[in-house]
Symmetry: C2
Amino acid sequence: MDLFDAIYRRRDVREFGNDEIPQETLLKILNAAHHAGSVGLMQPWNFTVIRSCETQSAIADIVAEENNKAAVNYTGEERDKYLSLHLEAIHSAPINIAVTCDSQRGGPHVAGRNTMPETDLYSTCCAIQNLWLAARAEGVGMCWVSLIDPERVKQIIGIPADIKLVGYLCLGVPESFDDRPHLERQGWKTRTPLEDILFFESWGHQQMMDSSDTESPSLIKRGVTSP
Amino acid sequence: MDLFDAIYRRRDVREFGNDEIPQETLLKILNAAHHAGSVGLMQPWNFTVIRSCETQSAIADIVAEENNKAAVNYTGEERDKYLSLHLEAIHSAPINIAVTCDSQRGGPHVAGRNTMPETDLYSTCCAIQNLWLAARAEGVGMCWVSLIDPERVKQIIGIPADIKLVGYLCLGVPESFDDRPHLERQGWKTRTPLEDILFFESWGHQQMMDSSDTESPSLIKRGVTSP
């Protein structure tokens, strides 16, 4: 699949069909994740693949609890809407993957990590994005479940205290991929226009400062169409 | 470009030629970044595109200072090697992009962000990985410069105190893309085999627990070849 197709057609998928993910497909997806860039080639990630129904159920229970806690932040219609959002897909996903980050990997001095130690986490997220795109290209859907209590999930999987759980991912084969993000279809949020989040030269300046092209601001609208 | 080609051929590029990046190419790359998934469709990122030589020079000075500080962590030959690593590319890159994260975007309650507030940063990193891959597909090289003092860089660009600088990126057109990571070619680090970072069912278990396939551990070697 073309890269841009994968980027624009990637979705946070919450409903899966009954098809299994072939072992070789899973490994292809994980290998793509493993080829993300990382600060100082630190490769701080681990992927723990979970197929056990028992483990998945224990984690789904945690998500349900946390979802109920989060619902308290909303009232009335908004609360009903929130509770209908269907924010996880653990039960219907044949494979879960816990993505973790080991901050100690590579020893005390990792080239390039001196001033921003959190770049180990950032590298791990780059790996997750690779995984997400690779899954999409292979016809596999993924849901990143963030409504978890990471410490309780770590206990269930046996992840050591000093290892950070970055992402809990559910993978499965969906019947189809939606054309728009789940939360947009549900009327919860919409995508911001690119030009609203783009600045030039300094914070807040939304006009391109390119004297050779006085028409450049409109290029933002002309140059790119969002599929 | 095929997604997997983009993933495997993506590099942290530190040397650029003299070609400019066309405006429409830049916007195509930024739009791909903007189409990353984000927790609760929060889209917490901003991209500040910096072409000004003055701004780039001021930031390059900060990187040089931080690089000298980091070199203190090494001695003898290792120190010489470290100093030869060429960890940034600000001066030779026609375009720099500061990628920031606004933790307040989307209001106090973002769907799915209740228990892991740091997912705003994670979403921003997914956008950076999209940007990196999209650049690669367009023949544009990118270097993620992490050896910065983020607070000083924020001051130069005018980024408000409550906005987090996640990545400072340098983009340009390289004469070629290397076949291996920069730090691997320099003899600094090598890529870990996938099977070393892969666990099954629980932390530390390196054998696939799939009773229907007793040969599965070797699939890791058979199923995937790293380009």
